[in-house]
Amino acid sequence: MSKSKFNVDNPDDLVYKYGADTFRMYEMFLGPIEQSKPWDTKGIEGVNRFLKKLWRMCMDEQKGLVVTDEPATVAELRVLHKAIKKISEDTERFSFNTAVSAFMILLNDLSDLKCRKKEILTPLLIMLSPYAPHIAEELYHALGYEGSVVTADYPQADEKYLTESEKEYPVSINGKMRTTIVISLSATQDEVESIVMSNEVVQRWLDQKTPKKVIYVKNKMINLVV
């Protein structure tokens, strides 16, 4: 007789061991909501680590709250607004598992930027509150807000942080890619030409010659015909 026994897990035990927030996020992280999937608690540690990491971003064991009122940098705002767009869109279309991974990416990015700013963490906590309401409520209050996070407004993704302002162009000479140059997307043909011509690598390949033509396709490529 072939037997197959599935894990025996009671939600109570998991909530006791990891907390309701971890349990909630993990169930959402298991996969697309409409698909069947086997229960497997191996991955629950990862979600738990995510929440601990968020906690440590706001709280220090000795010093307590370590969140600052400094204004956010453009890089931090970019990371945040990209996440707002992704998480709200995913939630709206019931793609909860991808929203959970977007939270994880956001936290890693902020951690890389060493960000502990209230301006960034407030919208993050509001966005997180549907998924992990307890820790969101706790930290939201810790940041000094009164009333439940339930009454907050969902953050809006700001277009200006979503669109890239510069582009790293591949620069070819006679069809062969020789280097890349970062140029503002608003640059004109003349500006592009002067930037390209003053580039050391380009100068080396041109070897004193003047190109017949500088082909510039915005957001795509730059090609010099010699």
Partner: protein, 704 residues
């Protein structure tokens, strides 16, 4: 920071407890019916509070809906996100039978367990709106809606439900002459007016939307009750795994077939998955075709007897390919036309079929059984005798319970003909190779008299026209769906507000509601398959003024209370109405409904029908209850062993007792090339099958 705990570690236990208490105390998730915000209604299929409590599969849907409800709140919506309990049902009663504990007691205990478990997960339910279907203040309105159904008929001319009085007044004036759907009744106004009360009431019973009739039911001796088709798995009860047999009994039904077309059309206006819509369409099973009469003379033990077999066919174009007829074993003609020589064989066969469930009969196509009655009918268009057989592959409930068998065009007919060596007529030339049937509609007809040379799909209409012209039958739309059985011979359900007197069903007056479920000491069945309530003589026998009568002793099925609960959440404390128009207008349809696919053809269809009925009376302004439905997948969870038993997969509970909540054939699918059941294939198959039909025990939510 929030007062106190300056514990700087992530101490989730303290944090979660603190906020759960704070939310409860400050009524954070209470929602008013009127706010300056747009309304949004997020609903879970409410659970049956089983003794086992929550398992990991349960919360998946609840968490998803909670995430969405919270998200919508942050987005500025006034969100209704309630929770309640579908607390009537068989398991509590079965448990009571085993332990002697009253279902009310165990149910209350189970609900308390569920609630504390749900609370720990931090859901944002508005518990002030909780409903329990077994609470008299709730089931008062289930009974009220039942009475409304009882006192209504479906007027095919206005295409909606109407008070039975409008039918009575039509009968008084013109009889059944102008009725679009006569339900098999033909009376003139004069005849109607001359009817006795009993005759009138019997006729009205054919029209009422909740009605009583003798029906064939799945009777389970061990559970002492009638089971719905979806509670019978492979011939045994879903719960307990006891054998189930067919029996005729007085039952209550909902005339859901009158809503069949609207239930189909409504699917175009809702956001359900295509798979879900397809399941509902299949269940409703609408087909267009013709009813055709085949006549013959039976040489029975009692002499020659003329008879007519009515068949329903969607392929009247194949009428010249008929090689035999098949009656369902339950068909009333079977015994009547059987010849003396065949009567012994027929009796044996009927005995065998009695033990088989519909599902088994349809599913096991490979196993061919049947028996010749000895009788013949004449082909309506040519001089040919056609033998009449009976076989379990024809179900009594579909169409007329009889078919014309065309082996060259239908697989089962072909296999049957092969098995019993019945000669096969080919009407489609080379399209039929003699090795298997070809169900094509595109072949050109041969050997088909007036249909010769026509493409089959074009011949359908021609054949129906000719059948009608020659008076051999009529054009007809047919549904696979039956009227829904609405009574159970058990205790733990809503009592019917009906008193029988001289075989007439009289409704209780509305101010007598709720008719509370009386307390019983014993939950065993009463006499003659009646429910436990029949043991309470004092309760059953009623004197009301001059009228003495006997109460209906069966109770309503599990899906009664769940057919309208989403409306009650909008106005749960209303003592005067099932919910106020204002509240139901404000919240409107359920914007997002989350639950398992196991309710595809049960709860979801019934609640859609009730909603249409309630809409017909103008109480609500929408006739589809759920705008959008999400079916959460199953988490293959805990506490069951799945094991191979013969060619079936069965389940055992943890202590090793056979449970049979899960029992199905895996056939060839879970077997590798050497014929062994591999674990990998087994699990993949199991997952798919469980999701398809048996997740009630695993995905948790139960609303039917």
């Amino acid at each position: 920071m929030a007062e106190g705990s300056h514990n700087m570690e992530y101490n989730f236990r303290d944090i979660e407890q603190k906020w759960q208490a704070w939310w409860k105390e400050s009524g954070t998730y209470r929602v008013a019916n009127n706010a300056d915000k747009p309304p949004f209604y997020v609903l879970d299929m409410f659970p049956y509070p089983s003794g086992a409590g929550l398992h990991v599969g349960h919360p998946l849907g609840y968490i998803a809906s909670d995430v969405f409800a919270r998200y919508k709140r942050l987005k500025g919506f006034n969100v209704l996100h309630p929770m309640g309990f579908d607390s009537f049902g068989l398991p509590a009663e079965q448990y009571a039978l085993e332990t002697g504990q009253h279902p009310a007691v165990t149910t209350e205990k189970n609900i308390a367990t569920f609630k504390s478990q749900l609370e720990k997960i931090g859901f944002s339910f508005d518990w002030s709106r909780e409903v329990q279907t077994s609470d008299p203040s709730y089931y008062k309105w289930t009974q009220w809606l039942f009475l409304k159904l009882f006192k209504s008929w479906y007027n095919k001319s206005t295409d909606k439900a109407e008070p039975i009085e409008t039918l009575i007044s039509e009968l008084e004036q013109t009889g059944t002459a102008n009725l679009k759907d006569k339900k098999g009744c033909e009376v003139s106004a004069a005849q109607w007016n001359a009817f006795t009360e009993k005759q009138q009431q019997d006729l009205l019973m054919n029209f009422r939307l909740a009605y009583s009739s003798y029906g064939e039911v799945n009777w389970c001796e061990q559970l002492g009750t009638v089971l719905a088709n979806d509670e019978v798995i492979n011939g045994v009860s879903e719960r307990g795994g006891f054998p189930v047999e067919k029996r005729k009994m007085r039952q209550w039904f909902l005339r859901i077939t009158d809503y069949a077309d609207r239930l189909l059309k409504g699917l175009e206006r809702v956001d359900f998955s295509e798979a879900m819509k397809e399941m509902q369409r299949n269940w409703i099973g609408r087909s267009e075709g013709a009813e055709v009469d085949f006549s013959g003379v039976a040489e029975t033990e009692n002499g020659a007897k003329p008879f007519t077999i009515k068949v329903y066919t969607t392929r009247p174009d194949t009428i010249f390919g008929v090689d035999f007829m098949v009656l369902a074993p339950e068909h009333e003609l079977v015994r009547g036309i059987t010849t003396k020589a065949q009567s012994g064989a027929i009796e044996d066969y009927l005995q065998y079929v009695k033990s088989r469930s519909d599902r088994e009969r349809l599913a096991e196509a490979r196993q061919i059984t049947g028996c010749f009655t000895g009788a013949y009918v004449d082909h309506p268009f040519m001089n040919r005798k056609i033998p009449v057989w009976t076989s379990e592959y024809v179900l009594s409930g579909y169409g007329t319970g009889a078919i014309m068998a065309v082996p060259c065009g239908d697989d089962r007919d072909f296999n049957f003909a092969q098995h019993f060596q019945i000669p096969i007529t080919n009407i489609i030339g080379t399209a039929f190779d003699g090795r298997e049937a070809n169900a094509t509609k595109d072949a050109i007809l041969e050997n088909s008299d007036f249909l010769n040379g026509m493409v089959m799909r074009d011949a359908v209409g021609v054949a129906i026209d000719r059948i009608e012209k020659d008076g051999l039958g009529t054009r007809k739309v047919n549904y696979r769906m039956h009227d829904a059985g609405f009574s159970r011979q058990r205790y733990w359900g809503e009592p019917f507000p009906i008193i029988w007197k001289d075989e007439i069903a009289y409704p209780l007056s509305e101010d007598a509601l709720p008719l509370e479920l009386p307390f019983v000491e014993k939950y065993g069945p009463g006499k003659n398959g009646e429910g436990p309530l029949s043991n309470l003589e004092d309760w059953v026998n009623v004197k009301e003024g001059t009228r003495t009568g006997r109460r209906e002793t069966s109770t309503m099925p599990g899906y009664a209370g769940s057919s309208w609960y989403f409306l009650r959440f909008t106005d749960p404390d209303n003592r005067n109405e099932f919910a106020s128009k204002g509240a139901m207008d404000y919240w409107g349809q359920v914007d997002l409904y989350i639950g398992g696919t196991e309710h595809a053809v049960g709860h979801l269809l019934y609640s859609r029908m009730w909603t249409k009925f309630i809409y017909d009376y103008g109480y609500i302004s929408f006739d589809e209850p759920y705008k959008r439905l999400i079916n959460q997948g199953m988490i293959t969870g805990k506490s069951y062993f799945f094991a191979r038993k013969g060619d079936s997969i069965v389940s055992y509970t943890e202590d090793g007792t056979y449970d049979s909540m899960v029992r199905f054939k895996y056939g060839h699918k879970a077997v590798d090339s050497t014929g062994k059941l591999t674990r990998k294939v087994f699990e993949a198959f199991l997952k798919e099958e469980c999701m398809k039909r048996l997740p009630k025990t695993l995905s948790g939510s139960r609303a039917g």
